[in-house]
Amino acid sequence: MKIHVQDFDFYYGDTKVLHGINLDVPERQVTALIGPSGCGKSTFIRSINRMNDVIPEARGEGLIEVDGKNIYAPGTDVVALRRRVGMVFQKSNPFPKSIFDNVAYGLRIGGMRDKRALAETVEKSLNRAALWNEVKDRLHQPAMALSGGQQQRLCIARALAVDPEILLMDEPASALDPIATTKIEELIWELKENYTIVIVTHNMQQAARVSDRTAFFMLGRVVEYAETNTIFMNPKVKMTEDYVTGRFG
């Protein structure tokens, strides 16, 4: 198991938002988290790279292991963790820099100075994110000039550049049009050959299309977690069936 979560609780101040999450994410597969708004999917995915650390008064309890190491153990190097566990956000967030500098950002802060190596990794990452052909002639133009879908693929390229093992995606296509969404989904399909992917999505067809396993979240609990086919065709829990068939949520 790439990620092992056991009895994980999460609090914002006194409010408990995650209750005893148990979830094992297998390596090089796509695991989708579905569920109605406010059910804790985003909070959970942001716990895996400790992005919630920046929120004051927020704290997690319990166990999350990446490759068998508890990431909440004292003395954990959060910077190193985040380089292994990349993240793509709901709203594309390119930096106000050139396309090239966006992709090179993580490499540069990691200490890579060699221009050749930088250029090679940037090209490789843009290729993997299926963006290279669209931007290769304007690498030094501002990233903000790209379309929404291109910006999101740029953010994926940026995350891939530092060569993570896990990619967390928090509703990566929810702000995109159908064509851009299709591109992102195809991309996820290709990326799982090399990366372990956890994706939060509101779109159940998307979960069905891209994921190998699906977890259904409800009110801060994992209601059901199984192979995606099982969740959609043959769920064990009535609530899951009601949700995936659109009877509520």
Partner: protein, 278 residues
């Protein structure tokens, strides 16, 4: 019908108010340009003031002096103000931050003459000599609250997503601030600095007890130094026609410097924003 009349009246009322607000500005500009331009010549930029009775002469020393003074002010206020602003935006709700914010707002309201007296006590009395450093420091103190507050406001306007993006790539907090958040806010901060500079370039009172004035050409920052504002003040108060004309020319130049700073600020912002947003 009645509604249309009321609407029309309101429009006229608004237009009159706008005119009332603009008329003084237009008159000032018109007068300064009319009187200033005719008194302006090459000698004004290149010559030193002449003694009373002799015609001609210029304010070369005061032009250089003003530039040195606002340079010193920026040297003091920009680093301190930017770093303080950064602290306020990074730790917005600590007690220390609220105190600093309040102090900056109070400092912003302190009359400039009081700031001048403070700089006098701090930097003139101990060395028993008026000097440019004291003048620059006084102007810097006037700039400081503006720089602090604009830096804070603009840093907080940067979308939280950018910070998260940097952190998610393994940036430390300070790295994220310096390499992503600060550059994103830079165009605005730069304008804030230029606007603050333009404001203090026109100050006279804080210089009276600090930089004083100097009839000679001096770039020594430990000596009294001339400035356009004090020179205009002195000349305008004199009984000599010749000096009055020089004062007009000085006033014209001051207005032009301030105008240029504002225009440069705008252009810089437009350029940088094109880089940012395209």
């Amino acid at each position: 019908m009645k509604r249309k009349i009321v609407s029309r009246l309101a429009e006229v009322f608004c237009a009159v108010c706008v005119l009332l607000a603009l008329v003084p500005l237009a008159l000032i500009l018109f007068y300064v340009i009319k009187e200033g331009l005719t008194s302006l010549n090459l000698a004004f930029f290149t010559h030193l003031p002449k003694p009373v009775g002799e015609t001609g002469g210029g304010m070369a020393n005061a032009i250089v002096g003003t530039l040195i003074l606002i340079g010193l002010a920026a040297l003091f206020a920009v680093p301190v103000g930017c770093i303080a602003g950064m602290h306020l935006s990074e730790y917005p709700s600590t007690r220390f931050s609220s105190t600093v914010r309040f102090a900056a707002d109070v400092l912003n309201g302190v009359p400039s003459i009081v700031i001048g007296l403070f700089a006098y006590g701090l930097l003139v009395l101990p060395v028993k000599r008026f000097n440019a450093v004291a003048g620059g420091f006084a102007l810097g103190l006037l700039m400081l609250p503006i720089v602090v507050r604009t830096t804070e406001e603009l840093l907080r306007l940067v979308p939280a997503g950018m910070r998260e993006g940097a952190l998610a790539l393994g940036a430390t907090r300070s790295r994220a601030v310096f390499s992503v958040i600060l550059p994103a806010a830079l165009p605005g901060i730069l304008t804030g600095i230029l606007v603050a500079l333009a404001r203090v370039a026109g100050e006279t009172a804080p210089l009276l007890f600090t930089a004083l004035n100097n009839q000679y050409f001096s770039t020594n920052i430990f000596q009294p130094i001339a400035s356009l504002t004090v020179q205009v003040f002195t000349y305008a108060n004199s009984p000599y026609d010749d000096w009055h004309r020089q004062a007009w020319a000085g006033a014209f130049l001051l207005v032009m410097i301030i105008l240029t700073l504002s225009i440069v600020a705008r252009l810089a912002v437009r350029r940088l924003e094109r880089m940012n947003r395209a």
